[in-house]
Amino acid sequence: MEVKSEYLIASFFSFLIHALIILYLMDFFYSEKQIRPVLSQTVDVNLIFEEEIIKPKKLPEAVKVPSVNQVVDKDINIEQDIKPTNTDEINISINDLIKIDKAEIASSSEKEINQISSMIVNMVESAWVKPKNIQDGLVCDLRLVVNRNGRIISVSLIKSSGNIRFDNSAMKAVNRVESFNFYNKIPNNLYADNFKKIVITFNPS
């Protein structure tokens, strides 16, 4: 059977183009430089404690600290993104920290951070009234700045759900909390690193 060369060449190019497209879609050409930090500079170390956060039962309210999965996968050193703090612990990459976390679950300061995180979540959860007739799948993020005594100094919406009523309800919840009365019990070093600036994700699903 005779095969015309034009056809061969054409189909070869077609194959090439298709392969390139597929590879591109499979992120073959993806390079780390393109990554932007998940959040702004205040990606503090406390964000690792994502697995601590409660997934909701039947009650709709669930407040969870956003995950850093993206960051972890790409193994980025986020040193430059962190606001300058005094400790040296941050020089360890996120991957290592996760490993430590998984390997040494009973490490005491981690335990404490988890405990405090869940107390924060509980307080905000109980103050949150989810608005009615809101569609599923809405999520918004608020950043809080909390002073040493636990008083919430500022709240800002850093990621809108697209629905103003939903965003407002999250803001209301935080405003209603006003201050976390257990903050005096937090040791100074933990406060500065983890609990001065926190980001809360409101995700009812």
Binding site: N133, Q135, D136, I164, R165, N168, K172, N175, E178
Partner: protein, 424 residues
């Protein structure tokens, strides 16, 4: 002398009409202390009352009454924020009538955040002495916007049809009123039925179906001049007008081949384009907020259901969008295009329902048996509709946040409400 007389009479008229019944509030309202406006007592009282009712009707506010307040500051300097924190109040509103003569009335107000102990808004509204209501509505909307971030609808209007007995005949009237049902003005009087009123996007014109010539015809009428014209001359009936969001097109239902089909009329050059071509009923067209799709009611699957057709692709096939129940009709889009409200029949009851496009279930919003003609406010938060109770029809409202209210009972029956756009 004359001025004082007018002021005395006005409140009587106004207070007699306004009987607003708020039957349910929402769960998590903003708590507001609304202090009496400073100035002429009668006007100030009116304004406070109207603002109070407007904010209550949104379902998102709880107004703490004067008696419960620990102090009544008249200006910023006099505010003791602790007095308000104790009562869990979120915001304080202090207002005053600035100037007032025969032709001008100006009111200014300030809003304070109790949490942050600071002033968050200073506003001034200029109006006319005998249009105090509208001025008060502007104030309500200003407060609503500052606190919730959404545009308020207290200063918008509603359009509806009223039917009453007169000389043993039925008198039909097309009425426009304020969003709280007050200040009714008649746009059209007729002894033949009027249905399907619709606002133009700029709220300056209306379209409606009138049977005055013996068959259903669509008229377009300019509100302020009263000038009107037939949308399109035709021997056969036409109905169900709906304006496109840019005001250039009017979708209509025509019966040229004996069957209800949807057509689009280009208002600029009078070109008529046919949209549907199916042997079943296709009617009740409604445009998406971005003007790219039209939703309509069609019987093509055997019972009335809602379909959507994309206008960008020529001859695109209508896509069915309601699947629950055997009667889904008169759909209209939510203002941000992420869902629809419509009339839904379940267990022989006709209710108003809401469906988000990213969900596959219907959310019933009302509870009575014969609800129809839902119309959504321009800020997308409030739905007004007609209820039939004890054989009478009246207008009822509900907010997405869960509050409910009734508009004052009128003479005769009222139905087919349509909500205007923003007028501020």
């Amino acid at each position: 002398m004359k001025k004082i007389l007018v002021i005395f009479l006005l409140p009587q008229l106004i207070f007699a009409e306004l009987v607003l019944e708020i039957t349910q509030g929402s769960d998590d309202p903003y708590v507001i202390a609304l202090l009496d406006f400073d100035g002429d007592e009668i006007i100030a009282k009116q304004i406070t009352e109207i603002v109070n009712n407007d904010l209550n009707r949104t379902g998102e506010f709880k107004i703490i009454s004067k008696e419960k307040l620990l102090s009544s500051p008249k200006s910023e300097e006099e505010i003791n924020f602790n007095d308000f924190k104790l009562l869990n109040i979120d915001y304080i509103v202090i207002g005053a009538l600035d100037s007032e003569d025969q032709f001008n009335l100006s009111v200014s107000y300030q809003i304070f955040s109790v949490l942050n102990e600071n002033k968050i808004r200073t506003s001034k509204v200029l109006g006319i002495p005998n249009k105090i209501k509208q001025l008060a509505h502007y104030i309500s909307d200003g407060i609503y916007e500052e606190v919730t971030g959404l545009k308020g609808v207290a200063s918008t209007k509603i359009l509806y049809v009223s039917e009453q007995e007169e000389n043993n005949k039925s008198l039909y009237q097309l009425v426009v009123a304020d969003a709280d049902g007050a200040n009714e003005q008649i746009l059209l009087k007729s002894y033949e039925p009027i249905i399907s009123p619709a606002w133009s996007p700029d709220s300056k014109e209306i379209a409606y179906v009138s049977f005055e010539t013996g068959i259903a015809r669509v008229y377009i009428q300019n509100i302020s001049s009263g000038k009107r014209r037939v949308a399109i001359q035709n021997t056969k009936q036409i109905s169900s007008p709906a304006w496109s969001p840019n005001g250039n097109f009017l979708s209509l239902t025509m019966y040229q081949d004996g069957n209800a089909e949807i057509y689009i009329l280009n208002l600029k050059n009078n070109n008529l384009t046919r949209l549907t071509n199916h042997y079943s009923i296709d009617t009740e067209s409604s445009w998406s907020p971005d003007g790219s799709s039209i939703m309509f009611t069609s019987g093509r699957s055997g019972s009335p259901q809602l379909y959507e057709i994309k206008l960008s692709r020529f001859n695109s096939k209508p896509k069915r969008i309601t699947f629950e129940g055997n009667y889904n009709a008169k759909g209209s889009y939510l203002k941000n295009g992420d869902g629809i409200i419509f009339v839904h029949r379940s267990n022989n009851d006709f209710k108003i329902a809401l469906k988000y496009f990213n969900e596959n279930f219907i959310r019933p919003l009302t509870e009575s048996k014969l609800d129809e003609s839902p119309s959504i406010s321009p800020n997308g938060n409030v739905i007004i509709y007609a209820v039939t109770e004890n054989g009478e029809s009246l207008l009822s409202g509900l907010t997405l946040s869960g509050a409910r209210f009734r508009l004052p009972a009128k003479k005769g029956e009222v139905r087919e409400p349509a909500w205007s756009g923003f007028l501020r």
